[in-house]
């Protein structure tokens, strides 16, 4: 049996240890055992991946884009959550504020999440430029509450929503997961309403570099894809990690972010 694959992940929630110990236990005894290493931010994790001190990285979409940039594309995406294939950015405003489209943001205040959050900062600017009035026509308020974690904590998006409630912003751009977590418009009717939702794009994936051969990653990948929502032993891990099924990566779902990173001159590193 080969050495266990070492998977890197960023510790963005107190449940991360539980999640990864559960995943490690799931792989225990298989022909693709693994262990994990936690990082405080994605910059440090991608550095470790490039240095070879981890074999795989559980990367956000921005971390994937930066890995591609730093390896000239010599990296592989192995798998993602089903929810990663249909991620969206949602623009919300106070209900009844009279904002019905991105164009309505011209001259108004938009609260964005952390500057390294693809869903709450980088892609929203891209959408304003391409299907809205242009980012330079909107007064942007950046809330950098969790820089380094690419918006994973959701904290900056909640703060952006609070800015709207406090009338410090007219609208906020958030990820679909945060929109779901607050119950969309349904839990608190009259508080928020969504006025624009982006096309779906891809979010996280497991990233490998060429020095980790497919002979090592394939058994691991097959075992990962075999996790079963209907299996009571697997479901708690899947629930905590926010998916029902691991799936093959949809790489074209990153095209918009590649374009946004290039347009906005976002550094390929950190």
């Amino acid at each position: 049996m080969s050495e266990p694959l070492i998977v890197g992940s960023v510790a963005y929630s107190p449940n991360i240890v539980t999640i990864w110990e559960g995943i490690r236990d799931y792989f225990s005894g298989s022909d693709a055992e693994m262990d994990f290493v936690l990082f405080s931010n994605y910059g440090r994790q991608v550095d470790a991946l490039l240095a070879g001190s981890i074999d795989l990285a559980w990367n956000t979409n921005l971390a994937w884009v930066r890995t591609v940039a730093q390896t000239d594309g010599a990296c592989r995406a192995l798998a993602m959550r089903d929810t990663d294939t249909v991620f969206q950015t949602v623009f919300v405003a106070r209900a009844g504020a009279g904002i019905g489209s991105l164009d309505d943001l011209a001259g108004r205040r938009l609260a964005l999440g952390s500057k390294d959050s693809a869903q709450a900062a980088i892609l929203p600017v891209h959408y304003l430029d391409h299907v809205g009035p242009g980012a330079d026509q909107v007064q942007l308020t950046r809330i950098d509450s969790d820089v380094g974690k690419h918006g994973d904590t959701g904290r900056s998006e909640l703060d952006a929503l609070r800015a709207v409630l406090d009338d410090e912003a007219d609208a906020a751009a958030i990820g679909i997961n945060t929109w779901e977590a607050i119950g969309r418009e349904e839990l608190m009717p009259g508080a928020f309403e969504a006025f624009w939702e982006s096309p779906p794009y891809s979010h996280c994936n497991f990233t490998a570099l060429p020095h980790v051969p497919e002979e090592r990653t394939d058994p691991w990948l097959q075992h990962l894809l075999a996790m079963d929502w209907e299996n009571p032993a697997h479901r708690p891990i899947l629930e905590m990690e926010g998916l029902r099924q691991w799936v093959s990566p949809q790489l074209d779902g990153y095209d918009t972010l590649f374009a946004a990173v290039e347009e906005q001159g976002i550094s390929p590193r950190w």
Partner: protein, 334 residues
């Protein structure tokens, strides 16, 4: 409209605690009923658990409490086995008897009709084994009928001190179904002294004789010993003795002395520390056979329908574990 930031606070505060831990979120001004309804709706939608809502403060558990029943081994789930106290009177007066049985005890018999109905309902309720105990069941003149009602329904174990296998009672034993019945005979030591000290002079010799009679009659015999802490180091010698009697290793049961009934010391067994085993007596349903005449572990006077009684025991177990978990969260260190 209530505080619109409430749900944002819930997402942030609950998201910041580990799974199964609780977070307290102050709901802010507004109608308490409306606020609680929002918190409850958010919890239901997000898979979290509203533990309490009091004075505007919502206590929310991240995730839902694990089902205590689901965490038990399948054969430990209450209702897997059904205990029946056939009677409470006994030919012995053991000084640690958990239900205070003795020759002076009132019989308090379940009777063949109730035992038969229990056995029938046990099958429908998913019980996989029946266990008859007392008192000393062989004091009952119709014990063979009780046992037949049970063995016709399910595999059955009959607890006895093994001292009465002669004459009419031996005939009763011989009428029992050897394929469906296991006899569990009480024997506390490899020599007479420790056993007789608690159970009465001469009782060890008669119990050993009873084991041999039951084996000669073709019954599977399990031996169960009650061992006070001060004799817990004597187990290997006892197992060796039981080996010489031909008792299979899996049929050698040694249990700790419980601080219940006549016992003046022993392991403390409470609702919080004891996984229930549904136990039926003439007086009703109890949590566990070790506490079958103790008010603190009385569940209900309604023996029938048995399925309801089992459901009630499981409900109380779940409730007790949830309360214990919540208390563990609250206990302050300073």
């Amino acid at each position: 409209m209530v505080n619109p930031g409430l749900v944002l606070d819930l997402v942030q505060r609950v998201g910041a605690v580990p799974r199964y831990a609780t977070a307290t979120v102050h709901a802010g001004p507004g109608d308490p009923g409306e606020l609680e309804a929002i918190v409850a709706a958010w919890c239901a939608r997000t898979g979290n658990e509203l533990v309490s809502f009091d004075a505007g403060a919502a206590v929310v558990r991240r995730g839902r409490s694990p089902d205590p029943l689901g965490e038990l081994a399948p054969d430990h789930v209450p209702g897997t086995r059904l205990w029946m106290y056939t009677n409470f009177d006994c030919n012995l007066a053991c000084d640690y008897c958990c239900v205070r049985s003795s020759p002076q005890s009132a019989r308090r018999a379940l009777g063949v009709d109730r035992v038969r109905r229990l056995a029938t309902e046990a099958v429908a309720a998913g019980v996989s084994e029946l266990i008859l105990t007392g008192g000393e069941p062989f004091l009952l003149p119709d014990l063979d009928k009780l046992v037949a009602a049970c063995t016709a329904a399910l595999p059955t174990t009959l607890l006895t001190n093994g001292m009465l296998f002669r004459g009419r009672r031996l005939d009763i034993l011989r009428r029992m179904d050897r394929d469906r019945l296991t006899l569990q005979i009480s024997l506390d030591s490899a020599t007479a002294g420790p056993h007789d000290e608690h159970r009465g002079r001469g009782s060890w010799e008669r119990a050993v004789a009873g084991i041999r009679i039951a084996q000669d009659e073709g019954f599977r015999v399990r031996v169960a010993a009650t061992l006070p802490y001060e004799r817990s180091h004597q187990q290997s010698a006892f197992h060796g003795f039981l080996d010489t009697l031909g008792i299979a290793a899996t049929d050698q049961v040694i249990r700790a002395l419980a601080h219940r009934g006549e016992a003046d010391h022993g392991v403390e067994l409470t609702l919080e520390t004891l996984v229930p085993e549904v136990t039926v007596t003439a007086d009703g349903i109890y949590w566990h056979p070790v506490s079958a005449d103790h008010e603190d572990q009385f569940v209900t006077a309604d023996i029938f329908p048995l399925d309801d009684a089992i459901t009630e025991v499981r409900r109380r177990f779940t409730e007790t574990r949830a309360r214990a978990t919540a208390a563990a969260q609250w206990f302050p260190c300073a």
